[in-house]
């Protein structure tokens, strides 16, 4: 029997980057908010990050791939995509495991159709996010340096940049010699005590959990204030459906608790913030006679246009000691030298680069072995095993290169016809191919990154192909737009088809840019939350 929960003003599905922002903002304005999160709370007591076993945390418990991690809250991702999405299901969502790189989109990212004749323009522009960018950077205690000429002017970040370290200096000297753009990285990691965060201790274990609470994650930055303002967060709540009333409005959501009991959480407004895979899956699960192809899917675009920022790396191996295990594992420096379209290149749009350490010896050896595996067993195992540590460990930095993959209808999330999660709900099947434009873009950028490594004094480079697992950037499956025939939500992220249904995660991105998306996801969620608050204040009821 379904248990009826008391109606709230708003129910939010997902407690990560966008859900936490909306919950905190709405609750502070007096809106009654219930947030449903299928995972649980985590914190330093759950991490191995301050133990010698820190690198082994990646093997299983803190592996970013839910198919490997197989936590109780994870749902299977099936299919054989070129790039498999990664995510974390728990309070804070992907921001539990993220590297905390903070990067606003380029101004041009909102106008790629107008400027480059590809994909579509966003219905909003950079100026619509300018103020929210500043606010969320403050809330997330971002450390960085303003004034990057490649970006429109922003207010300075609330904390000075984290020192770029020996790896950043080596990489920057290379870029300086070539005359290429670089800038100290902005990270949602506190360079000094700020807000709810402690000062970073540079352990370099950011992606398996920060034991110092120096990395911003919603359980530190947003949920304490949201809960204090009256928001209610229900963990262990797996949402199965968004049911409609007779007028075609969302009644709320149906969810399953840890014991499999079914609940109906009624709400006047439903906000989906479950990431571009989870939200698309939920909409497809919510089919009905009115929406036989999935809720809010009259455009046929729910689940389509999945973008993931296909990723390659070039590791520069240097003679000098670079203390390359030292963190943080955010971005030491970044480059936007090749982020824009250039008429002399055989691809459109571009890629962002960022310098990172290589972590501990397990990771350094893995990087070496990946690059030399084709030489055979004896090149990387046996007596030769130690070459990896001798040559690479402590002497390398990595240029990570993330490509702007353009939206394509056939890159999509669908429901798996056979595989289900632990609640019996169909798994998300991912169909994703790296396009020829993206491959050319990555080949070009890798070649330039090798030049940059050599200019930095590298004695050798380790070049990897497209990573088969993603970097946690899932975008585009519920795109925003003004035309209901060609978009799922409008410019305020309200579903064209359902008047009281909103989507605020990365699914609404029209294009992905090459920037790490969290800053934009959070800024957009804040923009939408403020719109809802404004509408409530003026008692404008969506028709």
């Amino acid at each position: 029997m379904m248990r009826q929960q008391r109606q709230s003003d708003v129910v939010i599905v997902g407690s990560g980057a966008s859900g936490a922002v909306a919950a905190a903002r709405l609750a502070a304005a007096g809106v009654e908010v219930v947030c449903l999160e299928q995972g649980d709370w985590t914190g330093p007591a759950d991490y191995l990050s301050d133990r010698p076993e820190a690198e082994l945390a990646w093997v299983e418990r803190w592996n970013p791939d839910p198919n490997i991690r197989r936590g109780p809250a994870d749902y299977p991702l099936t299919g054989e995509p070129d790039v498999s999405p990664v995510m974390y299901n728990g309070v804070g969502g992907g921001l539990v495991q993220w590297a905390a790189m903070w990067q606003p989109l380029l101004a041009s990212d909102f106008r790629v159709r107008t400027l480059d004749g590809v994909a579509d323009d966003w219905p909003i522009g950079w100026s619509d996010l300018a103020e929210p960018y500043v606010q969320v950077a403050r809330d997330m205690s971002v450390s960085g340096l303003g004034g990057d000429p490649a970006l429109p002017e922003l207010d300075t970040y609330p904390n000075p940049p984290i020192p770029i370290g020996k790896i950043g200096m080596a990489a920057a000297r290379g870029m300086d010699r070539l005359g290429w753009h670089w800038w100290p990285g902005a990270n949602a990691i506190a360079s000094r005590r700020h807000g709810s965060l402690q000062a970073c201790q540079r352990r370099g274990t950011c992606m398996v959990g920060c034991p110092e609470n120096a990395k911003a994650t919603p359980s530190l930055t947003h949920w304490p204030s949201a809960l204090a303002a009256g928001a209610r967060l229900v963990s262990g709540a797996r949402v199965a459906q968004v049911p409609l009333d007779e007028r075609g409005r969302a009644r709320g959501v149906v969810y399953l608790d840890r014991d499999g009991n079914e609940h109906l959480q009624q709400a006047q407004v439903v906000i989906l913030a479950a990431n571009a895979v989870g939200t698309a899956r939920l909409l497809l699960l919510s089919e009905s006679p009115r929406f036989p192809d999935g809720l809010a899917n009259s455009s046929g675009l729910v689940g389509r246009r999945l973008m993931q920022h296909p990723y390659r790396t070039v590791t520069a191996v240097c003679e000098d000691s670079l203390d390359s295990w030292q963190g943080p594992w955010g971005q030491s420096i970044y480059s936007l030298e090749f982020a824009e379209t250039h008429p002399d290149r055989d691809f459109v749009r571009g890629a962002k680069w960022m310098v990172m350490p290589h972590g501990g010896p397990m990771f350094a050896v893995a990087e070496y072995q990946e690059a030399h595996r084709h030489e055979g067993f004896d090149a990387v195992w046996g007596p030769a095993f130690h070459r990896a540590a001798a040559e690479v460990f402590g002497h390398a930095f990595t240029w990570g290169i993330q490509a702007e993959d353009l939206p394509e209808d056939d890159n999509r999330v669908v429901l798996d016809p056979e595989v289900c999660d632990s609640s019996g709900l169909p798994a998300a099947r991912v169909e994703y191919r790296v396009s020829e434009n993206t491959r050319r873009m990555l080949d070009f950028n890798v070649a330039r990154a090798v030049e940059a490594a050599e200019a930095a004094g590298a004695v050798s480079t380790l070049v990897r192909g497209v990573w088969p697992t993603g970097i946690g950037h899932v975008l585009g499956t519920t795109r925003m737009g003004d035309d209901p025939r060609h978009s799922v939500v409008d410019r305020w992220c309200r579903a064209h088809d359902v008047a009281n249904l909103y989507v605020i995660d990365g699914g609404v991105f029209v294009t992905g840019g090459s920037a790490n998306p969290t800053a934009t996801i959070m800024a957009n969620a804040l923009r939408v939350a403020d719109r809802l608050i404004g509408a409530r204040a003026s008692q404008v009821v969506p028709s």
Binding site: E53, L106, P163, D176, G179, R192, R203, W381
Partner: protein, 139 residues
């Protein structure tokens, strides 16, 4: 790790396989010499318990008189199984304090920083600013 951890026989097999993967060389000890099949194995499986079952199955399968060929066969044709073996061996090896000292690795230790001093990259950054054409204007 479960109570039913690797047996003595399985540990012996692992020691043999581990030394094929991580042999003595370049001034570094072989895997078994630092305890990869002993106490370090237990720590590794405590941190990543899902490795235990597949690892023990592999160790039971490995022929005592053909460990080298077995390791190569796994590497060539059973990548998932080889990943279980190699992750265990490499993960346990680098837990060794002696190995860490030999490669100069202090561990992922706290390293407090100062953000008060002027960064040494300021002049380079000024050149970035001076030469950059500015961001692409949009309609």
């Amino acid at each position: 790790m479960s109570d039913s951890g690797p047996t003595s026989a399985q540990r012996l097999t692992l020691a043999g396989l581990a030394d094929i993967l991580v042999a003595e060389g370049l001034g570094m000890p072989a895997a078994s010499a630092v305890g990869v099949a002993d106490r370090l194995l237990d720590r590794c499986l405590d941190a990543a318990p899902a490795l235990a079952g597949p690892l023990m199955a592999l160790l039971d399968e490995a022929p005592a008189d053909g460990l080298a060929a077995f390791a190569r066969r796994l590497a060539a044709s059973r990548p998932d199984d080889f990943a279980v073996l190699s992750t265990t061996v490499v993960g346990a090896y680098y837990l060794s304090a002696d190995v860490r000292e030999l490669i100069g690795y202090p561990g992922q230790q706290p390293s407090p920083m100062s953000v008060a001093a002027e960064p040494e990259y300021v002049e380079m950054l000024e050149r970035v600013y001076d030469r950059h054409p500015g961001y692409r204007e949009c309609p």
